[in-house]
Amino acid sequence: MIKAEHVFKDFGSTKVLKDVTLDINKGEVVVIIGPSGSGKSTFLRCINLLEQPTKGNVLIDDQDLVSLKQKQVTKVREKVGMVFQHFHLFPHKTVLDNLIYAPMKVKKLSKDEAVKRAEALLEKVGLLDKKNQYPNKLSGGQKQRVAIARALAMEPEYMLFDEPTSALDPEMVKEVLDVIQSLAESGMTMVIVTHEMGFAKQVANKVVFMDDGRILESNTPAAFFSNPKTDRAKDFLEKIL
């Protein structure tokens, strides 16, 4: 499981995370929502140490990330896949090469194994026919599905999604959400930052509402959406729905 304990994060004098504590249990899907600038991305990035928390602890399977050496950090990151708003596919590599690169380089898989795994994943996200294309030839939705497959190719135990559909044209949102949903159904532990409230209701076991660097509410989707407790959450839901 992932445990974030009293995480603080400052950028210079800007305090971005102010005492965030959250448990993510195995098999759980946690959706984080909240206004832009509230620290959602920063919190996700603290979970795989793309950002180093200023204070507090992040534990993954009881391993304290904050005190780890660089080499061990890399090791822990293998367990945590991340999908970004803007995909960040490697533009100079084909779709297939995007998927096999890290498994070969980091997990030392043989090329045959890596390709086999990659092709199975591409099949799953419906893009096997694109395996020899370069990313610039793909639509946004296709890019994001490749990015998800690339993360899954490392066989992570946890997946972090940072607004995976926010950069997509509306007609491509569904194809990506469908992939994430099927991943949820397969039992993957996930933390998803999204503004897709319908989707949140559907897949989340827990909805977390963040505002101004703090977690204001943490509840089941049914309870949160029908009965938000704080005014901030009520305001936010009114605006977004």
Binding site: K75, R77, E78, H86, L89, F90, Y101, V106, Y134
Partner: protein, 225 residues
């Protein structure tokens, strides 16, 4: 006008000698570019790295090589330093290639550094998030993209090297410039040999520019983002 034509006729047997000097010129430029490229990568990685000592050294290195005349560096390397350390027969061509390489490394490191900085930050993050370590990430993900961005600038650097290499004539390397001087002295006639070299430099630079343009167009066509 007539005596100019006669002049060219007189030196005609030596024209191939002058023109073939371009291979010496290009050899020095290419050798220096290779040294400069490798050195430039190392220096740029030092500059963007977190180790203060290394980035300090890399910055000082760049500052010194960019802050002094190349011809001065060459004289220092060929005349002054060998005398200081008691080295006798320094090969002028080797000396020229190394000096130009060291000099070019300073310029290349700035070009490469700007290329690395221009790579989307997300590329670092995506690679890190996959558990890829610093060195493989740099080698396989960041540098290929950085270098693609800066190929035109590196081609310019190569053209500059080709032109600037004419100053190796001051340490008795028989490059094209030097050869035009030798032939001038031989016939006691300056215009025809120097004009041949002059035009030849220009033609070569035009060719290199055209090649650079082609590479650039090909890259922008296959632009992948």
């Amino acid at each position: 006008m007539e005596h100019v034509i006669t002049g060219f006729k007189t030196i005609a047997p030596s024209i191939p000698y002058i023109i073939n000097g371009i291979w010496v010129t290009l050899g020095i430029a290419l050798g220096a570019a290779i040294i400069g490229f490798v050195l430039g990568i190392l220096l740029s990685l030092c500059k963007i790295g977190k180790i203060k000592l290394l980035s300090g050294i890399a910055r000082a290195y760049t500052s010194i090589f960019r802050g002094t005349p190349l011809i001065m560096q060459l004289a220092l390397a060929y005349f002054a330093i060998p005398q200081l350390i008691g080295l006798n027969d320094v090969n002028p061509t080797t000396c020229a290639i190394v000096t130009f390489g060291l000099n070019s490394g300073a310029y290349m490191s700035e070009i490469i550094r700007s290329g690395i900085n221009a790579v989307d930050k997300g590329q670092f993050e995506a690679a890190s998030a996959l558990g890829v370590g610093y060195w493989p990430m740099m080698r396989d993900i960041i540098l290929p993209q950085a270098i693609k961005n800066i190929l035109p600038a590196m081609m310019n650097e190569f053209i500059t090297l080709t032109k600037d290499s004419a100053i190796v004539s001051t340490i008795a390397v028989t490059d094209m410039m030097r050869r035009s001087q030798i032939v001038s002295a031989e016939y006691y006639m300056y215009f025809p040999p120097m004009f041949v070299a002059f035009i030849m430099y220009y033609i070569v630079v035009l060719i290199l520019t055209a090649v650079g343009g082609r590479i650039e167009r090909r890259l922008s066509r296959s632009d992948q983002s």
